[in-house]
Amino acid sequence: MDNSEILTKLQPVFQEVFDEDDLIVTPQMTADDVDEWDSLSNVRLMISIEVEFGIKVKASEVANLSHVGLLVDLISKKLNQI
């Protein structure tokens, strides 16, 4: 799966977790750009990503992700490890 495919797959996950049907996910997106993206919904997001991609994400790995592009990189790395 290449990065653009990961981004495409992330879209419905984001839309569901943040309850926004028209949310478009871009690599530059940050938590500030999304209304309901707080620490609690971040947990929900990470768990959903784990379930969706079948990967396990460590809290330390996610802590320093400033924007979605880095999240996509992380997912890609995990998928290649499987």
């Binding site: 569901e16 977790v17 620490s39 609690l40 947990v43 929900r44 396990k56 460590k58 809290a59």
Partner: protein, 629 residues
């Protein structure tokens, strides 16, 4: 041997229809007038964690926008936990809909919970919860002196009673999957199993001492497996108490308990017959062809399901049959199949005919005099299940599948019949309902009431008050609201004085008929106010026995007694309340004359006053045998 690959966290008894679930989920996001009813339907479906969370959050917003008046009936539940339980209870709103409840939740941050127990927390008080769920986990007991922690735990419980006025649901604890010695953990006091056993003893005591309701999380975790339940990473990162995928079943477990507390648990299991109670189709396969027990796995599974149904009945849940067969053919196995565990006498209402099942289920509810939402319908046929769900959405219809090996597991895992207690009354409830159902059956067979009443073979026993029955007499006096002429409440001591005072005439009535004993059903207290005048102070009767001419029988007994003691006049009063309008015409019906409008009436202008001339009494033919002591 029972095998199943059903996971409790998926709530597999809920409707398995992913296409419809998606439709409902999309519709729920439209935020229109149908939102609430769509959410209600969605709650009955198997759904993903995210879907449940999303719709629950919307439901919470919906409640926030309601008028105060409509919001009043919402049940408010507060959670106190040393863990980050917010994400889990976010799913509560949707789960509660399937239990007939509209729930709003709140919880405090994990580090505020303890303090909130010991001193009033403004946010918690302001929320004014109906229920407080105490959801502490083993981490509370980590480190330091275990004895101190235990004392602290006790202090927290005491504090809750002091500071808040809500019914408490207390969660028991689970030991983490972390062994200290190995197998010796079980016998040691230092290991987690050892410590948690002590803590759970304390929790059991809270339930006995404070009347808390126990939430058996320990039981849930042992079904799921502690290894799966605890997510170490999520605890270290966010103090999540368990993996979020278990949040839906967690919420469901708590909803059931609250539903049980509110008396909303199901009361009757309605059974299809073919391929549900036995293997095969009785109409086609006949007595020799249906499979029950007989040492093969299919037969044994059906037999086990029968055993489960019987055990439900023994704890007070009624059984009914709803089958597409002729009545005679359907009853035969109950009558004479050697391997049947269930017999006709175990089935309170037996509906076997060719009508549609929804009509029959309605008749069953009517026959038992309970709501449709108190019924659980077990049928192996997905078309029948769909038909009943569509026609009667209040009836619980588990996704039974068609493997009898899973029937017992599914119905018990779903928790439809959750109960928080078991009393003597529960034990005999099934018989009492049986008796009433049989009476109703008989009533429908008769064209008129007179013949029906005669057929009951009623016997009524009259006696004056006595010590043995004093508690029951006092109970009736204090809890009867509808058929109560004056609603005067007396303590047991006051009842005792009536017993002993020769100026008082007292009457307790017990009723039985050929279907069963209804026990004590009526009470009269009367005072001799002059040599020849008796005033009826209290006259009350149980609503269960209306319309059986019992009042006339009691009048006859009162009159006979009056004559024997030189009384020639009866006085009576009717004091109206919000609940007793049904007896406004009681004395008129018995031939009393209305004497309202006299001077002494000014004290209570709505009451009515009556007199009866004993000589004017005309004896009537009554369908009861009177046995007087």
């Amino acid at each position: 041997m029972l095998t199943h690959s059903l996971n409790i966290e998926r709530l597999p008894w809920l409707i398995d229809d992913p296409a419809r679930e998606r439709e409902l989920f999309k519709a729920a996001k439209l935020n229109n007038k149908q939102f609430f009813s769509i959410a209600k339907e969605l709650s009955l479906h198997q759904s993903s964690m995210n879907d449940i969370g999303t719709v629950s959050r919307r439901l919470t917003k919906y409640y926030n926008n309601l008028e105060d008046k409509e919001r009043k009936r919402n049940v408010k539940i507060a959670f106190l936990s040393n863990t980050t339980i917010q994400l889990a209870i976010e799913m509560f709103a949707l789960s509660s809909l399937r239990h007939g409840l509209e729930v709003e939740t709140m919880c405090l941050e994990y580090d505020q919970a303890s303090i909130a127990c010991l001193s009033k927390n403004k946010k918690l008080s302001g929320f004014a919860p109906d229920f407080i769920v105490v959801a502490f986990d083993y981490h509370f007991f980590e480190g330091g002196s275990f004895e101190d922690k235990l004392q602290h735990f006790q202090n927290l419980r005491d504090g809750i009673s002091k500071n808040y006025n809500a019914q408490v649901l207390f969660q028991n604890l689970t030991a983490p999957p972390e062994s200290l010695f190995g197998s010796y953990d079980v016998l040691s006091k230092e290991s987690w199993p050892g410590k948690i056993a002590v803590v759970n003893d304390a929790v059991n005591n809270f339930c006995k001492e404070y009347g808390d309701s126990l939430v058996d999380i320990n039981g849930l975790v042992s079904r799921i497996g502690a290894e799966k339940w605890f997510d170490r990473e999520q605890w270290f990162a966010h103090k999540l108490p368990f993996h979020l995928s278990f949040a839906p079943i967690y919420c469901d477990i708590i909803c059931r308990i609250i539903s049980a507390i509110k008396g909303k648990s199901s009361k009757c299991l309605v059974l299809d017959l073919d391929n549900t109670v036995w293997g095969g189709i009785i109409g086609d396969d006949g007595m020799g062809g249906i499979v029950i027990g007989q040492g093969n796995s299919r037969g044994e599974a059906h037999l086990d399901f029968q055993r489960f149904a019987l055990s439900l009945r023994e704890r007070g849940i009624m059984l009914a049959v709803c089958s597409k067969n002729t009545d005679e053919v359907a009853r035969e196995p109950f009558k004479s199949h050697p391997d049947m565990l269930l017999k006709e006498e175990h089935i309170t209402v037996f509906q076997a005919n060719w009508k549609d099942k929804a009509s029959n289920i309605k008749a069953i509810a009517k026959g038992l005099n309970i709501g449709l939402d108190s019924l659980v319908f077990a049928d192996d046929n997905p078309m029948e299940r769909a038909h009943v769900r569509a026609a009667l959405p209040e009836v619980s219809v588990p996704e039974l599948g068609n493997d009898p090996a899973n029937y017992t597991w599914l119905i018990s895992a779903a928790g439809y019949f959750e109960s928080i207690s078991f009393s003597a009354e529960d034990q005999i409830r099934a018989q009492a309902y049986d008796a009433e159902a049989k009476r109703l059956e008989v009533k429908e067979q008769y064209g008129n009431d007179g013949d029906y009443l005669e057929s009951l073979g009623m016997k009524i026993r009259f006696a004056e008050f006595d010590e043995l029955n004093r508690p029951r007499i006092t109970q009736l006096i204090n809890k009867t609201n509808q058929f109560n002429l004056t609603t005067r409440r007396y303590t047991e001591n006051e009842v005792k004085t009536f017993e002993e005072d020769p100026n008082y005439f007292t009457l307790q009535a017990r009723l039985s008929d050929r279907f069963g004993d209804s026990g004590m059903i009526a009470v009269v207290i009367a005072k001799k106010v002059s040599l020849n005048c008796l005033e009826l102070d209290s006259w009350l009767m149980s609503c269960r026995v209306l319309g059986r001419k019992i009042e006339e029988a009691m009048m006859q007994y009162i009159v006979e007694n009056a004559k024997a003691t030189g009384i020639n006049k009866l006085l009576a009063t009717y004091i109206p309340t919000a609940k007793n309008s049904m007896v406004a015409g009681h004395y008129e019906g018995l031939g009393f004359k209305n004497k309202s409008g006299n001077e002494k009436d000014l004290a209570d202008k709505d009451s009515t006053y009556w007199t009866f001339d004993i000589d004017s009494y005309e004896s009537k033919d009554l369908p009861l045998e009177i046995i007087a002591k």
